[in-house]
Symmetry: D2
Subunit: 281 residues, 4 copies
Amino acid sequence: MPRFVLTLQCPDRPGIVHGVAEALLGAEANILENDQFREVVSGAFCMRTRFETPLVDADAVRVHLDAVAARFGARLTVRAEAARTRTLIMVSKFDHCLSDVLYRWRADELPIDIPLVVSNHFDCQELVARHGIPFVHLPITPATKVAQEARLSELVDQHQIDLIVLARYMQILSPDLCDRFSERVINIHHSFLPGFKGAKPYHQAFERGVKIIGATAHYVTSDLDEGPIIEQDVFRVNHAYEAEDLAIVGRDVERQVLARAVKLHAEDRLIRIGNRVVVFD
Amino acid sequence: MPRFVLTLQCPDRPGIVHGVAEALLGAEANILENDQFREVVSGAFCMRTRFETPLVDADAVRVHLDAVAARFGARLTVRAEAARTRTLIMVSKFDHCLSDVLYRWRADELPIDIPLVVSNHFDCQELVARHGIPFVHLPITPATKVAQEARLSELVDQHQIDLIVLARYMQILSPDLCDRFSERVINIHHSFLPGFKGAKPYHQAFERGVKIIGATAHYVTSDLDEGPIIEQDVFRVNHAYEAEDLAIVGRDVERQVLARAVKLHAEDRLIRIGNRVVVFD
Amino acid sequence: MPRFVLTLQCPDRPGIVHGVAEALLGAEANILENDQFREVVSGAFCMRTRFETPLVDADAVRVHLDAVAARFGARLTVRAEAARTRTLIMVSKFDHCLSDVLYRWRADELPIDIPLVVSNHFDCQELVARHGIPFVHLPITPATKVAQEARLSELVDQHQIDLIVLARYMQILSPDLCDRFSERVINIHHSFLPGFKGAKPYHQAFERGVKIIGATAHYVTSDLDEGPIIEQDVFRVNHAYEAEDLAIVGRDVERQVLARAVKLHAEDRLIRIGNRVVVFD
Amino acid sequence: MPRFVLTLQCPDRPGIVHGVAEALLGAEANILENDQFREVVSGAFCMRTRFETPLVDADAVRVHLDAVAARFGARLTVRAEAARTRTLIMVSKFDHCLSDVLYRWRADELPIDIPLVVSNHFDCQELVARHGIPFVHLPITPATKVAQEARLSELVDQHQIDLIVLARYMQILSPDLCDRFSERVINIHHSFLPGFKGAKPYHQAFERGVKIIGATAHYVTSDLDEGPIIEQDVFRVNHAYEAEDLAIVGRDVERQVLARAVKLHAEDRLIRIGNRVVVFD
């Protein structure tokens, strides 16, 4: 039987679970996984349900769910589990995150398609080509930034992109672009946020003499390095690590954290409530 | 409004979530947390739901749920969240786990009551007394084991004990006792199971030259060191750690793992399926 | 044979290890452990050597080492391993760090003596008394701060204190005191520095939606929360943790990080170079 | 100035550090790093020293050190830091460890040369070719095992191989080969040894319901899965991970653990004492 994933988000009140469960029964669905969360501060309720049903596609499922979503004023998404998240990757010169995402994509660890990779440099062109993926070179200068982002938007539309991954793309997106692709752009920051925001976090970490370094995957917002955190991880270091050594071990943390964030997003396991991300894992 | 926690376990089939949600609506309940799991191998389904309702006690809630439990052949538990798990702690000579549980109990980190502590030695008597908890000395020899366990069973009945915690109690419970208190006895084993079963695991770890040591909390079964694992954690060590050093850092892991396991059990977050434990956290 | 620990710190140049090894040979010493580090940025060299020799005390050992220390312009310390670090603990109301240090002290995990505990509140008085340690109440207000610190200094002198441990002492030491006791005051900060400096770090962590929290032990300097970091550790959390939950799991991290820092200091394993701490472990 | 690394291993007695330091002074060397360890059980002493000297090569350095090595009956190695460890990689069908080692090799994270990759299958041929490294197909059956290993030995000699890395090479080396290449073969085992020895460790881990899985890099000996452990690491999992999921997250642990072990070996940071490995990091 085909499998689907729904997410639903609305103000909490009694009856939501019952309403959704009833609608799913009407769709002859069997629930496989079900996670819910109710945030105390805002009273926001969210849920993710994975289920199987004989219905043929997400639209057919949605027919059964629209009424209950309307009743609770809920934001609803329904996706066939087999539908892969169409992912555009952006990269500058460092290739470790890109390389890792491509490896996992080929190994079928990530339920994504990668219609194209965009870069402001040529360093990663060969790596991308070797994987049979189109590489688009979009150089950027202060003068061309508006045009470059316009071109990027076109590519996103043209390729029906669901998710943009900044795999160490060392450029700051304009507020307009951030707003347009809200909750659809994931960045990997090479520090354990909120520590060491901004440039050269490994040098900052060396100066501060920290004993543990980390990386942070977050949704991009117009507020640099302040977007909602999706995933973080750390690695223990010591006094003998110079900034360059920190950068090397940091790469391992970066690629793993980014890969996990992409997987969580692609499986509809992330729901943003304010500046925090609910992770249903 | 009073809060309650239900757990439910039965073979999977469509309609369970809907049935439970409907019963809870009937009880004017609002669901606060809801976790479900369906095990692929056995087809077993289990759920844990935390909810608030104006009903006065667990029995009143149960009235609304018995029918749906019967319909799905489910094992159902309902508990008022305010009801504390009555916990008997057993200990021999080492006091680090006991001391930690007592600290957390006093700091209100664990939703348990501790009506008594039982030991086959006197080493921990003063520590227990200082906390105003009755200490019962039940010495044990091969000859007196049957009588000692009979006395233990009496104490369990008399004090209406829900959970027995073996906080480094260096005795093996008889198969009879294990069966009688199935899923109600938690042991802390001082190794990362299944590595280093049996006696002196830190010495075994030293001999083997492992780089990481750990501890394991598990439900006790008649199959020694093979009970279903609840929680594990680890600590990195190196070649300079002798067996005694491993034991010292191991204590930290032991007490934390045990404390987490007790908390999970006391919050009804653990459901055993075969030899594995579903942890709803 | 008696065992000793020396530490030595000086600008790097060839011959230091040879010079120290020769002096130790002259003292009929056998080296048990030896660690060295040379910092690239400053060219600072430091070493820690643990050795056994028939000599009777640290002064007798020093006689053999003073010449080589002078030759290299080195700061030298020599300590009999059996000599315990005299430690004054300061605490406010939270008792989890104090409680943990006291437990480890009694369990002989920490090579320290605790001649007294000082607090600006009475909350921990009973806990301290139970361990047979004098408790000194030194309340503090903006008006009495100078006098309170003067009294503290007297106590430090009178009890020949080697180390002051701020075990969640919620007061800021004056710059004078920080300078006077430079590298002799360890604080535990309840965040993963440099993230969440200042007050209420767990509330800050909740607001920011981090997925991992931590704690940091550091030497106290007049620059608040910027002192050289000794040790850090972290704990994974998720969206369901409210600020209070973060504080509870944070306690576990705090006490472990503080205990490790105290142990490292008491074993002469810490050497400060600029704003970073070399940890010989 | 050229840099070198020496390792030395002998029974402990006074004067070794002094003797080595004196010999290095004679070689006009400045010590950059120095680590020592003395094992309590066996009384074995070992050290690793990294230093710079104007001497031209390792042979010239050795001239200064042979006498002191002879005096203490020590096993001595001297290597120019710039000399890369010649590494032969063996692989079967899984490419994640191979892929990772190749990535790190190209990114210059590992101080190794890879003259060839050997496999009993063709699955990884293209990956290897893409990196410009010769791929040698050496199929193996029970009947051809002796001949295959003879051919492997020839390749090792012909290419002056220092280190063989079994990057998920699913074959067991014969005792003869293990002896011949003692301490020169590193294997990655996909479990946290000594748990889950033998075949299908992820399936074993699933059956046992462990909450943490791991990987272990060890030197290969004729005693399968019992060789001295170099490095281990772990990853937290839960009840929802099926065996295949464990295998996927396990890959991440495997490749990191293997990469660290190879780096440690290639930097002469590993000294085997009995069945344990001293790691100077």
